[in-house]
Symmetry: C2
Subunit: 261 residues, 2 copies
DNA sequence: TAGTGGTCTAGACCACTAG
DNA sequence: TAGTGGTCTAGACCACTAT
């Protein structure tokens, strides 16, 4: 079936784009619902009277747009969107971590989701450029890093690498442990007298690199949010820089603030 | 030239992925710099001893990842990343718009960029779902909308649609005009006694739809940031909801806030 | 074993750019 | 006009899923 799109004799769009647009239309109007299997490539090729290759290209376009996922040997399916998790600023609430809940859990359990994390690396490393800039040190200066993967209901959704100046780690040595204890790293910092007072987050979005696609098990057509968080103490000194790469389809960032003067 | 990637006899990766990975490696190591032209498809096919089609697929993968752009009749080029524009929360500073500068300009001229905007629509329309939810009204209730495209140094970088409840527009009727005057819409609201006190922004990222790609002239492999801004007055009532779609490669969101209690 | 999507080839023809 | 990338075909063969 051809959709309602303009399809005059002088339609300048390449066939592959027309097919993709038509199928997209059928998805958007609900003709195919999330999770539904689309007709096979052969069927689509016959319907649009074009070659298999063109049909494939059309599906490729839809996969890039995040509308379709394909499973070898089974078929092509309308993508089901996972419920996006909110990252609100109140997850940094001091009372929360004083109650023994880490930032990660604070966010998750409010939404009935199960958050877990897997440690990937715990080591002293030379500071990468983005980290050095924000910590106010020379790139390459040794810093402590905690690299972890966080998962929501079993699906990895974030690669988070936290960097700390060495003297900060000296004061709160539990940061070197795999498990930082109740309330997480921020709670240990406060206990050690490092009073966090300001957080800043910078974010942008881009397509994932190949290793990121694999690590986050990203379906084609899913971008990542690239977030840099800097935590500062009362003197304005940066005591932690976190570089995070998040699966965009599982994250919603949220910020509320008074209108500044 | 084959890169340093593992390329044993049992390399399970499909040829198109190997070629893409190798070229990506040469870009990342600086062998090809941003703006450089890559070898032609024919040359690449010869180098890797594979068909033209495979070479094309490899380049497609790189384009999807935002690393390469191609220009018909000219060649394939390493993508040059535009300098990402920062969207800091101080662009909402009240003193700025009191001085006659709109939020848009406040952000741009601090960075030596030229911001312009083109009005796309100015009308009374039924409230879309996302807007109605935040304004606390029924979907379909009439609201006033200002749809505009903003451009930075001539390139469109944002589609921004602002929705206002009708009674707010009554109080600040300049919102209905194409040009809202010095300081922009927020300044007119304040003059009319609608004192903005809180702003919240929610954002996520996704791949663009076809019309968005066209309107923002997005290169392949560029996601968009989907941002919803809600502005509230002193009573906590939402007086404006903005739905914005931004070219991710031209935007960096930035938020700084005290650690909440 | 049949049906599905994934990879790959060889080659025709079109559209755009540049000299 | 020569060179480049874009579209499209027809068909071989592989890999995975189901029965």
């Amino acid at each position: 079936m051809v959709s309602g799109m303009a399809t005059g004799p002088t339609d300048a769009r390449p066939m592959q784009v027309r097919v993709a647009d038509d199928i997209r239309g059928e998805i958007e109007t609900g003709r195919y619902a999330p999770g539904d299997q689309l007709p096979t490539l052969d069927e689509l090729a016959e319907t649009w009277m074009c070659s298999l290759t063109v049909t494939r290209r059309a599906l490729d376009l839809l996969k890039q747009q995040g509308l379709v996922v394909s499973v070898q040997g089974k078929g092509n399916f309308v993508r089901e969107r996972p419920t996006a998790r909110r990252h609100g600023i109140d997850r940094y609430s001091r009372t929360r971590w004083r109650e023994g809940r880490a930032v990660l859990d604070a966010e998750a359990d409010r939404q009935g989701l199960t958050a877990t994390q897997v440690m990937r690396e715990l080591a002293e490393v030379p500071a990468p450029l983005a980290v050095a800039e924000r910590l106010g040190i020379e790139p390459g200066t040794p810093v402590w890093v905690r690299k972890r993967t966080t998962l929501i209901d079993g699906r990895p959704n974030q690669l988070a690498d936290s960097y700390y100046p060495l003297d900060v780690v000296e004061r709160a040595p539990q940061i070197r442990d795999e498990n930082t204890g109740p309330g997480g790293g921020f709670a240990r910092l406060e206990e050690a007298g490092v009073i966090l007072s300001e957080i800043s987050e910078e974010s942008t979005a881009r397509m994932p690199t190949t290793p990121e696609s694999v690590a986050l098990r990203l379906p084609a057509g899913t971008p990542v949010i690239d977030l840099v968080r800097t935590a500062r103490d009362q003197d304005g000194r940066a005591v932690e820089v976190m570089l995070a790469v998040m699966a965009a389809d599982m994250v919603r960032l949220s910020y509320t603030f008074p209108v500044p003067d």
